[in-house]
């Protein structure tokens, strides 16, 4: 179980929730990080979807993720528009999860000038206030 918090530095827009993603978003509100895993080829699938993009099997199930990974690459965004205009600089990153997939996310709770490729990170959930929370990542001990 990871932290779910409502006091956030970045905007937390409410995601679009559909029948395929409802279980994922319900889990985020409880601080649980899950995704689909293929029972045929054993790959973890990000983003979660019912059909495996690697072997096209429909035999996929929800499985917990450790919520840990490393920064694969990142960019410090210094100019942005809309709701994001007031929160620059912020970090957009690919995090390579311990289970394999790379996901796009934000790195939070960090000095943006110190973020580096290979840094270990852990998930933290940022509450949207509408029964869902956005998975973001923060620096973690090695």
């Amino acid at each position: 179980m990871s932290e779910v918090r409502s006091n956030t530095a970045l905007p937390t827009p409410v995601p679009t929730i559909n029948p395929d993603s409802a279980e994922f978003w319900a889990a985020t509100a409880e601080g649980r990080f899950i995704t689909r895993r293929c029972t045929n080829c054993a790959q973890y699938i990000w983003y979660p979807r019912p059909i495996c993009p690697f072997c096209h099997s429909q035999e996929t199930t929800w499985e917990p993720l450790s919520g840990r990974g490393v920064i694969y690459s990142f960019s410090v965004v210094r100019k942005a528009g809309g709701d994001w205009k007031g929160v620059t600089p912020y970090v957009l990153a690919y995090v390579e999860l311990d289970e394999g997939p790379r996901m796009m996310t934000n790195i939070v709770d960090c000095d943006v000038e110190q973020v580096a490729i290979g840094d270990p990170v852990e998930v933290v959930f940022e509450d949207t206030g509408e029964g869902s929370a956005l998975p973001r990542f923060r620096p973690a001990p090695r």
Binding site: P15, Y47, F54, R102, M104
Partner: protein, 392 residues
């Protein structure tokens, strides 16, 4: 080899900020110039593929965009197919036109792309650009395309295969070419120091490395070989047309969409990257040229910067890349860009590119990518064009 399809005419409206002009104005100029270049009138067009990405959000013209601009120039009563494929829409329209001719459905087809990104509220343009991704998955992340390219390049800076100086130098080269292109948006020579000192947008990218908001239009008339004889002018033939959608990257790695498309195109043409004499690649951020040189097979993986430093990609190099100035300098009005690339290459193959003419090219490659899906472009098209007559 499928039946010959030739580029019979090309035309552009200059790219830039055109505040007093409407979408119809932009499309009219590009469309009429392409018809004129092909030596036909509006009645000669049998079918149209029309590319625009953002007029739904920016001008409120969510539907029938092609029909609304085409009737301005008297193209009516023919099939008009509206195409949207983010930044790759223009080349998608071109690819569909090639298919229509090869299928026998038509002999003369117009592919036209137009975009007007300058609107009163700039944040609407940024929102429209953001929608080139899967918003269900990334809407909450403050995603912007500069940062997506920034992440690709950051990994290469970290492994030492590209230096920060290369990012600036390639932007200098793009602008040097754009200065010579009367259709380009940014026609100002810049220095590497200016590029590095310009405002940081998304590390490691600075303002002068990036394409910007732009208005413009481009059009191409395609014809079945022999349908529109143009005696006395070199013929530009479509050698290959290859397309792909994005795909989920296998964690074990694998070729990019651009690589897959290029391989398909080389196979269709019975040619290889070594046969390409000039290329226009999708450098929405100028340094992307370094990555695409590798992905298109112009140099070995990891060698993009070395290839660039050798001078091979300069106007007078072995394989000039983006003689037009590319997206970063010529400009990137989303739905028009792919057709601007093909117009540029047609001029290059004919020897009509003026001050930016490269030396006697025979085979040209255009690569146009659009949108973004978890690590890959959502749409990619690669085209190969050939000049059939010898240079004399």
């Amino acid at each position: 080899m499928a039946e010959d399809v030739v580029v019979a005419g090309v035309g552009m409206h200059p790219f830039g900020r055109h505040s007093g002009r409407s979408l119809k104005d932009l499309a009219r100029v590009a469309g009429l110039r392409a018809l004129l270049d092909a030596g036909i009138g509006p009645q000669g067009v049998q079918m149209v593929y029309s590319s625009n990405a953002m007029a739904g959000m920016l001008q409120g013209q969510e539907m029938v965009r092609g029909q609304t601009v085409l009737r301005e120039i008297g193209i009516e009563g023919v099939p008009v197919v509206n195409v949207e494929n983010a930044c790759a829409g223009g080349s998608t329209a071109f690819a569909q036109a090639v298919m229509a001719i090869r299928s026998g459905a038509a002999d003369v087809v117009l592919a036209i792309g137009f975009e007007k990104m300058f609107v009163a509220d700039r944040s609407r343009t940024l929102d429209a650009l953001e929608s080139a991704a899967d918003l269900d998955v990334v809407a909450g992340l403050g995603i912007q395309f500069t940062a997506v390219y920034g992440m690709r390049l950051r990994a290469r800076l970290a492994d030492g295969s590209i230096a920060r100086q290369d990012l600036a130098d390639v932007a200098v080269k793009s602008h040097a070419n754009g200065v010579r292109n009367p259709y380009a948006q940014h026609r100002v020579q810049v220095t590497a120091a200016q590029v590095l000192e310009s405002r940081a947008i998304a590390d490691p990218l600075t303002l002068l490395m990036c394409s910007s908001i732009c208005d413009g239009a481009a059009a191409v008339v395609l014809a079945r070989g022999g349908a529109l004889p143009q005696p006395g002018r070199p013929t530009v033939r479509v050698l290959a047309s290859a397309s792909t959608s994005g795909f989920t990257l296998d964690p074990a790695g694998g070729p990019s969409g651009a690589t897959l498309c290029a391989q398909r195109a080389y196979e269709q043409a019975g040619a290889g990257p070594g046969d390409v004499d000039v290329a226009e690649v999708h450098d929405a951020m100028a340094p992307a040229e370094l990555l695409y040189a590798e992905q298109l097979g112009f140099c070995p993986p990891g060698d993009g910067a070395r290839f660039f430093r050798s001078g091979a990609t300069a106007l007078d190099g072995r394989l000039p890349i983006n003689p037009s100035g590319g997206l970063a300098s010529r400009g990137h009005p989303v739905g028009a860009t792919g057709l601007a690339q093909l117009a540029e290459l047609t001029w290059q193959l004919r020897g009509e590119a003026g001050e930016r003419q490269v030396h006697r090219p025979r085979i040209a490659l255009a690569q146009n990518s659009g949108g973004w899906l978890e690590g890959e472009s959502a749409a990619v098209n690669v085209h190969l064009l050939e000049r059939t007559q010898r240079w004399t």
